[in-house]
C-alpha cells in the first residue's frame, strides 16, 4: 500500500475544478466543502506541506467519506481520491493509533479464529434480550440504550445458525474431516462433483452471520450452472473494514489467512456474493500482499469473480422461469453497489440475472448513487449515513417497485433501514435470491 507521501503526485494532479462536488454523497448531505472530495484532497495537500497537523478536524473530515469512488469515476484528471483518503486514514492510525473501540473490534475480533464466531454466537443467542422485533419487518430495534447502536436503527437479526456453521455441520454428517500434513483441513460441503469447473465460495461476515440465505442461494445456483463448489471453512473476514479504518496490519493479516484458506484447493474461480468482499479480494489483496507474495496473490486475485459475473459471464447460467421454484411477477428495481459497479466494473450481469428471473424490471433514477453505508462510517456517523440512505430510499420509492434487488449484503442492510425510516415496504433481496 502506498503511503500518503507517495500520493503526492496524485494530489498534485487535482486542479481543484470541483467536478467531484457534483457526485460526492457526503458533500450532497453536508453541503460544505470539507465534506467533498476536493476539500479532502486540499487537506491532504496541506498536511503534506505541514500547513496543518493530524488534528481533530482533519480526522473528522477524513472519516466523512463513504469510499464510493464516484469522485474518482467523474474526475477529468483521474485523481484517485478514495485511495488518497485511505492513505490519510492509515497516517492517522500510525500517528494516533486506533480509537479504543475500533481497535478492539479489528485487532482482537475480526482477526481471531475463535473469538469472533464465539462472540457472534453468544450475541445471536442473546439478541432477543437487547433487541425487539419490528412487526412486518425482518429486523430488530434495540430495547434500551446500547453503545454504537442508534435507537432508530433497524438491524437485521443474527442468524440462528451461521452460514459457515451450517457448512461444518453438513461436513460432519457427510464425511470426516481430512487430515493433511498434520493439519486439519475442513472439508467442503460435499466432495467436488464430476464437473471440471471448481469454484471456491467466500462468504464474508454479513452473509455468514446475518444473511446466510444469500450464501445458500449462491451455492445452489453455482451447481445449477454446472460447476462444483466448495466453502473452505477456515476463511476469515475479508479485512476491508480494517482497511477502511486505516488499519493496514489487520487487513494484511486477514488477507494472508484467506489466501491460505483458498490455496489448499485447486480452484478455477473464487466467488463471493458480497460486492465489498469481492472488490477487496480481487483488488486490495494485490495492494496488501503484492510486494511480499506477488505470484501467490496474482494467482488468487485473477480467479476472483462476483457471483453475478461468475454465473452470467463465466458459467453462462440459464434457467427457464418454470424451473425457478418461486418465480416472482413483482416489480423489481436494482441498486448498483459502489464496490461492484465502480470497484469491479460490473453493471450488466446482475441486471441480466433479474431478466432471467422473469421479474418485471424498472430502473430507478441514480441507480449508481451510494446507499451511504460506507463501512464503519454508518456506525461513527449514523445520522449522516442515513441522510445519504434517504435519497436512495426516495429513488426506490419513486419506482413503485415491490422488490429492491442488489448484490451486496452491506447495501441491503442499509437500504432496508433507509426504506423503513421513510415508511416504504419494498422488500430488499440479493439478486441471487430471485432465482431460487
Amino acid at each position: 500500500m502506498k503511503t500518503l507521501k507517495q500520493f503526492t503526485d496524485e494530489i498534485n494532479k487535482c486542479v481543484l475544478c470541483g467536478t467531484c462536488r457534483g457526485v460526492c454523497p457526503t458533500f450532497d448531505v453536508a453541503r460544505r466543502e470539507p465534506a467533498s472530495a476536493r476539500g479532502k484532497v486540499a487537506l491532504c495537500d496541506a498536511l503534506l506541506k505541514k500547513e496543518i497537523n493530524i488534528s481533530e478536524g482533519f480526522i473528522k473530515h477524513m472519516t466523512e467519506c463513504v469510499q464510493c469512488m464516484a469522485c474518482y469515476e467523474s474526475c477529468p484528471n483521474d485523481v484517485n481520491v478514495p485511495d488518497i483518503i485511505l492513505a490519510a486514514r492509515t497516517e492517522i492510525v500510525k500517528e494516533n493509533g486506533l480509537p479504543f473501540i475500533k481497535s478492539l473490534t479489528l485487532r482482537n475480533f475480526l482477526d481471531s479464529e475463535r473469538l469472533m464466531p464465539a462472540v457472534m454466537k453468544f450475541a445471536s443467542n442473546l439478541q432477543g434480550l437487547f433487541f425487539k422485533g419490528v412487526p412486518e419487518e425482518s429486523g430488530l430495534h434495540r430495547r434500551f440504550p446500547l453503545p454504537l447502536i442508534d435507537e432508530r436503527r433497524l438491524m437485521p437479526p443474527l442468524a440462528d445458525t451461521f452460514f459457515l456453521e451450517r457448512r461444518a455441520l453438513t461436513v460432519e454428517k457427510g464425511r470426516k474431516g481430512e487430515r493433511e500434513k498434520g493439519r486439519k483441513i475442513l472439508s467442503p460441503i460435499r466432495p467436488f462433483t464430476d464437473s471440471p469447473i471448481r469454484v471456491g465460495f467466500f462468504a464474508g461476515c454479513l452473509i455468514n452471520y446475518m444473511l446466510p440465505n444469500i450464501g445458500e442461494a449462491s451455492l445452489k445456483l453455482i451447481e445449477k450452472a454446472g460447476a462444483s463448489v466448495i466453502v473452505p471453512l477456515d476463511q476469515h473476514c475479508c479485512g476491508m473494514p480494517a482497511l477502511g479504518m486505516g488499519d493496514i496490519e489487520t487487513a494484511k493479516s486477514l488477507a494472508l489467512k484467506n489466501l491460505e484458506a483458498f490455496e489448499q484447493y485447486e480452484l478455477d474461480y473464487i466467488t463471493t456474493a458480497c460486492a465489498t468482499c469481492g472488490d477487496g479480494l480481487r483488488r486490495r489483496f494485490k495492494e496488501l500482499l503484492g510486494d511480499e507474495y506477488p505470484e501467490r496473490v496474482n494467482a488468487f486475485c485473477s480467479k476472483v469473480r462476483d457471483i453475478t459475473e461468475l454465473l452470467v459471464n463465466e458459467l453462462e447460467f440459464e434457467i427457464s422461469t418454470s424451473h425457478i421454484p418461486h418465480p416472482t411477477s413483482q416489480l423489481v428495481t436494482y441498486h448498483d453497489p459502489c464496490h461492484l459497479n465502480r470497484g469491479q466494473g460490473i453493471k450488466d450481469a446482475p441486471r441480466e440475472l433479474i431478466e432471467i428471473s422473469g421479474a418485471r424490471f424498472k430502473e430507478m433514477s441514480h441507480p449508481c448513487r451510494c446507499c451511504g453505508l460506507g463501512g464503519s462510517f454508518n456506525i461513527t456517523d449514523y445520522d449522516f449515513s442515513m441522510e445519504i440512505a434517504r435519497s436512495k430510499a426516495e429513488d426506490i420509492k419513486n419506482t413503485g417497485a415491490d422488490i429492491v434487488a442488489t448484490a451486496c449484503p452491506g447495501c441491503m442492510i442499509q437500504i432496508k433501514d433507509g426504506l423503513h425510516q421513510i415508511g416504504v415496504k419494498a422488500k430488499v433481496l440479493h439478486v441471487v435470491e430471485l432465482l431460487v
Binding site: 481543484l16 470541483g18 467536478t19 467531484c20 457534483g22 470539507p34 487537506l43 496543518i52 484528471n77
Partner: protein, 463 residues
Amino acid sequence: MLSQNIAKELNNIAGKENITTSREDLICYSYDATNQKFLPDAVVFPKSAEEISLILKLANREAFPVIPRGAGSGFSGGSLPVEGGVVVSLERMNKILKIDTDNLVAIVEPGVVTGDFQEEAENMGLFYPPDPSSLKFCTIGGNIAECAGGPRAVKYGVTKDYVLGLEVVLPTGEIINTGVQTAKGVVGYDLTKLIVGSEGTLGIVTKAVLKLLPLPEATKTMFAVFSDMRDAANTVSKIISSKIIPSTLEFMDKESIGCVAGYLPPDLSGSIEAALLIEVDGDKDLIEKEALLIRGICMENSATDVRIAGNRQEAKALWQARRAISPSMAKLKPNKINEDIVVPRSKIPDAIMGTRDIAKKYNIIIANFGHAGDGNIHVNVMIDKSNSGEFERGKTAVEEIFRLVLSLGGTISGEHGIGTAKMPYIGMELSPAAIDVMRRVKQVLDPKGVLNPGKIFPRHRLV
C-alpha cells in the same frame, strides 16, 4: 485575523454552528478552479438575506472584506479571498423556491446547482438554457455573478438573458429588489443587468427570478472531424452564414481532443487536427433536416468523418468528452493560463490561425476549444510555472493574443469574468474613462470597498 468581538457578532448573526475559523475549514475555502489559494479569516454559512445584510453592515463598521462564494468553480478568481476577510458561502441557500409553469418563470436561491435546477425544470417540460461546462456542480449565484455562458449560448444566449429580477444585498447592507417577475419591465435603471456579471463586487444575490422556455421536443448531436484546423474553422463560419443556428457549435483542436480521447468513438477515421461538436434542437422532423444540411456543409468543407449520435448514450459520451476538456488539460502541462476570448463569428479562422502562429513564435503549447458558434474560444496557454522562462513567454503570448483579438473586433473575456486573472489586461480593452465610470459605480455602492476587494480593477484596495 478577526478580532474576538467580530467573531462573536458573526456568531450572533448566523449561529455558532454556521461560522468556522478552524484552519482545516479555512483551507477548504481558500481556493477556486484557478488552483490558487488565499486563506480567509472566517467562513460564514448564512441562511437568509437578512443575515447577509447584518454581516455586511458589520463589515462596513469594522472594515473587513466580505467575499461571496458559490461552488468555488470559477475560472477568474472571483471567489478568492485575496485580501483575507470573511467568506460568505451560499451553499446552504440552495432551494428552488418556485417553478411557475403558467408564467414560465422560476425563483431560486443562489446556492442552487445549475444542473439540478435544469433537471427540475425539464421534469416539468421547461428549459433553462445557460449551460456552463461546470453545470453539474456550479451554482446559479456564481453564474449570475460571472454571467456564465456555455455551448448553448450560440442559440439561446447567456445567463443575463434569463435573469428577470433579483433580490440583492448591497455592499452597505441594504436589501433591494431589482427588475420584475414579468416578461417585460422598464421602471428605472436596469439594475438587474448591472448586478449580473459584476463578479460579486456590487452585491450578493440572495434570490433570482429566472426566465424559462418550453423544452425543445428533441435534440440531435453530431461530431465532425477534420484533418486541417482551417477547414473546421471555416465550417463554423459556413454553418452560421447558411442561416442555421445550431443549439451547440463547439470547436476543439488537436491538443484538446488528445486530452479526452478516451471518451470519443475509437474508430474515427483520418488524422484528426480539429473537431466540431454540433447539436440542433427543436421540432423532430425539422432537426433531422437540419442535421443532414449541417453534415453536407461539413463534408463540403473537407470533414474526414461525420458521426450523428444514434441515441442518448452516444450523445452523452460526446458531451462528456467536451465537458472534460478544460480540467483534463493538466495532462499537457501542469499550469494553464485560461482565456476565454470572443471574436465576431466570421473571424474565427483568423483568431484560431493567429493563436497558432503565436504558439509557434513563443515555442509554447496553446490548446484551443470552445463555443466557436458564438465566436467564444477558450485559449489555453499551457505552461509549467516552475520553468520561469516558459512562464514569462506564456504571459507575453497572452498579451499578444489579446491584441490580436481586439484587432479583430473581439473582447478578452466572454464568460469567465476578469476577477484577478485578467485584471492586468482590462485596460487593453476599456478606455480610462470607461474604467473610471465603473470605479465610480463601485464607489457609490461600496464606499468602504468591503465587498470582494482586489477584483476587476488593478490596485484596488480597502479604503
